[in-house]
Amino acid sequence: MNVALSVARKDLQIEWRTRMVLARVVPFALLVMVLFAVALDSEPLVLRAAAGLVWLATLFSTMLVVQRAFDIETADAAIDTLLACAVHPARVFFGKALALFVQLFALVVVLVTAAMVLYGVTVSGSRVVLLVTVVISATSGLALVGTLYGAVVANMNGRDSLLPLLALPVLAPLLIGASRATEAAFGSQTIDMANGWAWVGLLGVYGIVFGAAGSAAFSPLTESDS
């Protein structure tokens, strides 16, 4: 597991030194949320859509962060050294996913806070527990799928457009699940807490399925031939 932690630490060191997520992706995601509010132009509507908007903004931002995560590997062919040193590519996969998770988790925390401030969402009592669980499980799923498909398109021409095409359909169940469960946590009338927890179950299954798939598929995907 040392390899995974080394990889995660390295990615976070790079983020810490460049502050790419902090300085560019977070403002971008906030901007998306502001623009949604402007476009919907109705406070009750925005309040109802708040959960979905948080996760949609997160989804778009994930594409940026994933691309960045693999650009640093391919820019100077560092991934060759990385894969050469790592006997088990699955550990590299989990390391990169862990770093992605940390960055996305911070982003979602900012966006949920923004939803409270901008959209007037309130979370109280036992709903906080649901919200935290949803954020952790959905962000894990995002990080795992993002890393997996980031590896698919790493070092390819036209990867900026290919990544969303491949990853977004796969992320659709996660978007639905995270949005519904967050809606429950936000105290929406259309969905109760029990259903919110049911969605967390789906998110959990999703994370396990793609965690397993990613650790198995990362090795064949990263064998470059040119």
Binding site: N2, V3, S6, V7, R9, K10, Q13, I14, R17, T18, I72, A75, D76, A77, A78, D80, T81, L82, L83, A84, C85, A86, V87, S219, E223, S224, D225, S226
Partner: protein, 227 residues
Amino acid sequence: MTNSVASDTTIHLSNAVVALGGFPALAGVTFGVGRGELVALRGANGTGKSTLLRLCAGLVPLTRGVAVVAGVDLLVNRVAVRPHVGLLGHRNGLYGDLTAKQNVQFVAGLVGATASDVSSALERLGIDQRVASTQASLLSAGQRRRTALAALIVRRAQLWLLDEPHAGLDAAARRELDVILRDATASGATVLYTTHEIDQVVGTPRTITLDGGCVASDVAATIGSAP
């Protein structure tokens, strides 16, 4: 795995062809390198030197022929060779956003080398405190090359593959590099590096020249000195 290859052979190539997008970068290469050998690879640009190194490192697939490196049959599983091989390519494989020292530390963390391994490797390549704590993307080409070499030392690979390791280095660093490569072979590692003749490691006992993706000559002597 093939049993026909002796266990003290690190590289065994027989009529190896590597086609990159239909172009045969290697058009049938045959030679062997024993454990602990120091071999220079010469040839003009585009004769297949870099591809040969990348083949041995398991980075490009073998199209035809036989290639067994460090006991691994590259036709069967070229990924399995990577842990045994340290490759310094045209590109240094550094993270530009990390400092020189952080880069070496990262590699050390992957292979389980200690902090003292890191500092001794940095010291050997003359990377002082100031350079070590500078972001890699801000270093000069020579300093980046030295950092990559330090990372290679830390890896302690069985087979060292270096693509023009002397390029960009000053005279002092070249001399140090020569010592490092000879030390590596003395401790049992095998070294294969590409070069232009003027960069020849002093005392390289064997030189293979490539031309047109094939071996043009294979001489057991240093170019420029008596055989």
